[in-house]
């Protein structure tokens, strides 16, 4: 089971890191990342494959990130943007224009919309996203359309 778990984590490390980066506050990325891994491991033992592995991973990672108890909630309200953290770690020296746009747009959304966008970009269907979030597939589609509109209003014409 341990090897299987390592394999799951290796295949989804980018997703987990992105979720941790999106939800964490300044200087708490490592703590949140490790907490997500810890909860995944805890849940992996009882995971019976009732849902797809991707769905399970998103649910556990998002639920952990949503309620992550910060060390000092009142002192750490300065949210580090995903662009700052994720780009610094993963895009050093690369062309970051599109990543920059994506991350700054992601940061302009609330947590739930950002999560839906994450899953949409990841290629998950509306039904799967609805299962992860706990709303109807129709509600997910409506939100995606709204997010798309918002994005196009903000960025269309800026780059060709």
């Amino acid at each position: 089971m341990s090897v299987e778990f390592e394999h799951v984590i290796a295949n989804n490390q980018g997703r987990i890191r992105y979720i941790a980066a999106r939800y964490c506050h300044h200087g708490e990325f490592d703590d949140m990342y490790q907490e997500i891994l810890l909860q995944l491991w805890r849940s992996f033992e009882s995971f019976k494959g009732n849902s797809a592995r991707e769905t399970w991973l998103y649910k556990v990672a998002l639920n952990t990130a949503c309620t992550f108890v910060r060390k000092s909630i009142k002192h750490k309200e300065i949210k580090q943007t995903v662009a700052e953290q994720f780009i610094q770690e993963n895009q050093m020296g690369q062309e970051i224009c599109q990543a920059d746009v994506l991350n700054s747009f992601m940061n302009s959304l609330n947590d739930i919309d950002a999560t839906i966008l994450m899953m949409y970009l990841d290629g998950l269907s509306s039904d799967v996203s609805a299962d992860v979030i706990g709303i109807t597939a129709n509600a997910v589609r409506v939100r995606i359309a709204r997010i798309k509109n918002e994005f196009e209003n903000q960025y269309i014409g800026e780059q060709s």
Binding site: S2, E6, I9, G14, L38, K59, N63, C66, V69, Q98
Partner: protein, 199 residues
């Protein structure tokens, strides 16, 4: 640029990790940490219940050599408190949302859990401090009764009760502070996310 143009960008960002050795070490660390945390939680839970339960024989023994009705009532209050406090703590721990539920389902359960814990901490006076304080006062006061059954409050006893009273106030304030610092912001965070879901 359209949103769908960024799908490729996203896929690149979440590409699987290449560094397997580092990952293996990380997973091993997580497993060790999980085991350690689970052991600590189990030990703490057992300790909480054991302390309360181990005191019961002591109070029962006291009942057989009680100095009078006041002391007996105090001992009964302590016995009931020692049964009720662990029950209350165990009951509060039973509301535990599973992490593999949907985000909405998890948040609703988490909200319920946080409200329960918040109420528990805010009402600590009624289910924890007051029964213990009443029990201790009745037991000690019952030990000072004269031949007419009237308790005699000495100066030392008055100082002792004042100290107990201050201790209870301190425990209450510390719990209240913990509730305000820990549960209130977390509850607000959960409620905010639930509101986002209903947008």
């Amino acid at each position: 640029m359209r949103l769908d143009d960024l799908k490729e960008e996203w896929q690149q960002e979440i590409e699987p990790a290449k560094c397997e050795d580092h990952l293996k070490a990380l997973v091993d660390e997580v497993k060790t940490k999980t085991l350690k945390i689970d052991k600590e939680i189990k030990r703490r839970d057992i300790l909480e219940i054991l302390i309360a339960l181990l005191l019961i024989p002591f109070w029962v023994y006291g009942l057989f050599s009680s100095a009078g009705n006041i002391q007996s009532i105090g001992l009964w209050v302590l016995i009931i408190a020692c049964l009720f406090i662990p029950y209350k703590l165990i009951k509060a721990k039973q509301v535990s949302p599973t992490k593999d539920a949907s985000v909405k389902g998890f948040l609703i359960k988490e909200q319920e859990k946080l409200k329960l814990q918040n109420d528990l901490v805010n009402s600590v006076v009624w289910w924890y401090l007051l029964p213990l304080l009443t029990g201790i006062i009745l037991v000690t006061l019952g030990g000072t009764v004269n031949e007419f059954g009237v308790p005699q409050i000495t100066e030392q006893l008055a100082i002792y009760y004042s100290f107990l009273g201050l201790l209870c106030i301190a425990v209450y304030l510390l719990n209240k502070r913990a509730a305000n610092k820990k549960f209130a912001p977390l509850l607000k965070q959960v409620e905010k996310k639930l509101a986002q879901l209903d947008d």
